[in-house]
């Protein structure tokens, strides 16, 4: 096709208009995310306390490998990831399938009730959970009323981690459930009807129909949950204060301590933040390879 006219062809004009719409957002992202990211990486190459920073190359990254506290908090964070995310996603899926039932009454009330936790403030809900699980808190009162001895939730490392996992599940299940509900709307009811006629049980229709058709949504929520759990901060600080000892401290909490509680070592904090980013990127990549056929 010859371009006789002066100026742009229709397709090029469309392209330029498209780029024109994208440009503001792109510029914003570059200045607000990429530029600080690069600065952060440069900061991670600096060594020293407070403002006395000197160039140190990859010293901070090598230091991470030698840091016993880093290993502890890394284990904690991964523990939350491995235990909490699967439980939460499965629960969200089950709830979404139950709520997708055409014959269920008052769906809106259930949906709102399950979704509401994720709209609460992180600090407020952490503090409330903290007071719920104290030695004289509601949970122990209920346990005692069943005749069992009360549990020192925050005194034992495993029960303390359990409290954080319970809090996270309470908070984020609704959020993921809404994603699944939206995805389920795209599945035609006739598919389920056909399966029922063929004699499929609810479990079979869940595994053979719902999950394969929901794969993109499951992938999305898995990546978002991984990202969020690896960066966990508020619960570690406000619910358990990292305790007992450092049993529930997360990576982000340790990074915060390194910058603000201890004698500040900003280069080291930046290096640790970058390590988190790399890990999240690797996990996201792995999940996409497994889940996305495109």
């Amino acid at each position: 096709m010859q371009n006789n006219k002066k100026g742009l062809t229709l397709s090029r004009k469309h392209n330029l208009i498209g780029w024109g719409f994208l440009l503001p957002a792109t510029l914003l992202i570059v200045f607000m995310s990429f530029y600080p990211g690069i600065q952060g990486f440069l900061l991670s190459l600096q060594v020293g306390h407070g403002m006395q920073l000197t160039f140190g190359g990859l010293k901070n990254y090598v230091r991470i490998l030698k840091d016993p506290v880093f290993k502890e908090v890394f284990f904690n964070t991964f523990f939350y990831l491995i235990i909490q995310v699967p439980i939460m996603l499965v629960l969200a899926l089950i709830l979404a399938s139950m709520l997708n039932n055409k014959h269920l009454r008052c769906k809106a009330i259930f949906r709102t009730a399950i979704f509401l936790p994720c709209a609460t403030s992180l600090v407020s809900y952490s503090m409330i959970f903290r007071s719920l699980f104290t030695t004289d808190g509601l949970v122990n009162n209920i346990i005692r009323s069943f005749g069992m001895p009360s549990v020192n939730w925050f005194g034992n490392e495993w029960t303390a981690r359990g409290v954080i996992i319970i809090a996270l599940i309470w908070r984020w299940t609704g959020y993921n459930m809404v994603f699944y509900l939206a995805g389920l709307q795209n599945i035609e009811y006739s598919v389920y009807e056909a399966a029922k006629i063929d004699g499929a049980s609810p479990a079979q229709s869940l595994f053979r129909i719902t999950i394969p058709l929901l794969k993109p949504t499951i992938l999305l929520t898995a990546i978002m949950s991984t990202n969020g759990t690896l960066q966990l901060f508020d619960e570690s600080v406000n619910l358990t204060s990292g305790g007992p000892g450092r049993a529930t401290m997360t990576l982000s909490h340790y990074i915060y301590n390194t910058s603000f509680t201890n004698n500040p070592n900003f280069g080291y904090s930046a290096a640790m933040s970058f390590v988190i980013m790399v890990i999240v990127a690797i996990l996201a990549f792995v999940q996409m390879k497994v889940g996305d056929k495109r």
């Binding site: 060594v47 020293g48 306390h49 407070g50 403002m51 006395q52 140190g56 010293k59 230091r63 030698k66 840091d67 016993p68 506290v69 403030s121 992180l122 600090v123 407020s124 903290r130 007071s131 104290t134 030695t135 939730w153 925050f154 005194g155 034992n156 490392e157 901060f233 508020d234 600080v237 204060s241 990292g242 305790g243 007992p244 000892g245 450092r246 982000s252 915060y256 301590n257 390194t258 910058s259 603000f260 509680t261 201890n262 004698n263 500040p264 070592n265 900003f266």
Partner: protein, 452 residues
């Protein structure tokens, strides 16, 4: 048409709610309560024109305590100096430190105030790392010998003074006399005693009343830090090297702490709120904390007359052991990057370092703010008897305690050391870990933080 109206209405609502909740997506980690309420202090002379009017911006926290004190000081100062306004902004201590750190890292000091309040615990760290935000006050004419020695030492580096000390954090042993009576003791039985004496008496109290003597926040064993400080010991030696693993005094403190837990005369609680709740509900027979705890204790009006003052027990067998220690407290700093340094220094010199009227008012106003400035204790107000505490002149006593606190070595790594020791104690107490190995790993952690 209807759709259009509905659409515009929804857009407006969303727009408003976006701007309103834009603040909730603020940085994680900073306190939700970062409120910037400027309390503009009006010129008492009534001259409202801005001719020759100078303004000092101050950052402090606690509306009823520090902010009130600064506003009062501004009032007193402006009686003799016209045209000075002081704008006090209420900002949490952690946020003040973060703001200063961030401003200096960004190289933009225009957002910093003229005067700010800084906690003593973080003073050495901030002073060493951000010296240019402090001002050397050694030649300013402020007489630092009038302040309690231990307090002043927090703001001294290389022999120079960098702050005007403010509130007193002298550790006091607040005792419930009604519980002690049941066990056959009085407050005098707990004054000037040793820890082994305390352990024995605490067991009797537990037997006769069923209550523990003390409560402590798990993971943050203040009592151990008080014990260390009361004999002038620190987690660092004179040369700034870590001294945790082989610190015999620390081991002795931990042994005493463990003994109290074993005897059930010390109960650990999970959070600060629980501790305060326990104090107010009377679930322990005494509290060993900084004198500022008085505000919490006196908030329970129905417990008036049931409390008494004493000093904390001392360690035996340790040279230089005393019955006094410090907990918290803060110091005013004149910002080195501020544009009105002379005015700020003069202001602080006349008020916090020179006005009995100010310190008197702080007591009578019920703020509980006891200073560390010794000339204040000559006044009648400081010697008033307190009904709540059985008729004792508590403020004078606090000032007296403050003057006897031993000076300890402060380093920028105090925060690291305290967290590491806190973790070690938590592991020892709650997980039954071995003391030697826990202290060794605490020392290794601090050494790691100090190294590069």
């Amino acid at each position: 048409m209807k759709k259009r109206i509905l659409a515009t209405f929804m857009a407006i609502v969303l727009g408003i709610s976006l701007t309103a909740c834009g603040g909730t997506n603020a940085q994680k980690g900073t306190d939700d309560g970062t409120s910037k309420e400027s309390a503009e202090k009006q010129d008492t002379e009534g001259k409202s024109n801005s001719q020759g009017e100078q303004k000092l911006i101050v950052w402090a926290w606690d509306k009823n305590f520090n902010v009130y004190a600064m506003n009062k000081a501004a009032e007193i100062y402006s009686k003799n100096h016209e045209g000075i306004t002081v704008d006090v902004q209420d900002i949490m201590p952690g946020d003040i430190e973060t703001k200063i750190t961030t401003a200096l890292a960004a190289g933009d000091t225009s957002t910093l105030p003229d005067i700010f309040l800084l906690q003593d615990v973080t003073f050495p760290k901030m002073l060493e790392n951000y010296t240019n935000v402090f001002t050397d006050l050694s030649g300013s004419g402020i007489d630092f010998s009038q302040f309690a020695g231990a307090k002043v030492s927090n703001s001294v580096m290389d022999g120079k003074n960098y702050g005007v000390p403010f509130d007193n954090g002298a550790v006091v042993n607040f005792l419930r006399t009604d519980y002690l009576e049941k066990a056959g003791f009085t407050a005098a039985d707990f004054t000037d005693i040793t820890w082994s004496d305390w352990l024995a008496k605490a067991k009797v109290v537990k037997e006769k009343t069923g209550l523990p003597m003390l409560m402590s926040q798990a993971g943050s064993p203040n009592i151990i830090y008080f014990m260390m400080q009361s004999c002038g010991a620190s987690f660092f030696d004179k040369n700034g090297n870590v001294n945790i693993a082989n610190n015999d005094i620390l081991k002795q403190c931990i042994d005493i702490y463990l003994q109290m837990i074993k005897d059930k005369t010390l109960v650990e609680v999970a959070s600060w709120d629980e501790l305060i709740g326990g104090i107010n509900n009377g679930t322990a027979a005494s509290v060993i904390q900084g004198c500022w705890m008085m505000a919490t204790i006196t908030s329970q009006a129905d417990q008036s007359g049931k409390w008494a003052f004493a000093n904390m027990p001392k360690l035996q067998g340790v040279e230089g052991a005393t019955n006094y220690a410090n907990s918290g407290g803060a110091t005013w700093v004149v910002a080195g990057v501020g544009k009105q340094k002379e005015l700020a220094i003069d202001f602080l010199k006349e008020t916090f370092a020179g006005s009995t009227e100010l310190y008197d008012d702080l007591i009578t106003a019920g703020t509980g703010a006891v200073g560390t400035w010794s000339p204040a204790k000559e006044s009648a107000v400081y010697n008033q008897a307190s009904d709540f505490f059985g008729g004792e002149a508590v403020n004078a006593k606090i000032l007296e305690y403050a003057s006897k606190i031993p000076t300890v070595i402060n380093t920028p790594y105090d925060g690291d050391a305290q967290s590491a020791v806190g973790v070690a104690v938590s592991n020892i107490v709650q997980q039954g870990a071995d003391i030697e190995s826990e202290l060794k790993s605490a020392e290794d952690t601090v050494k790691f933080n100090m190294g590069n």
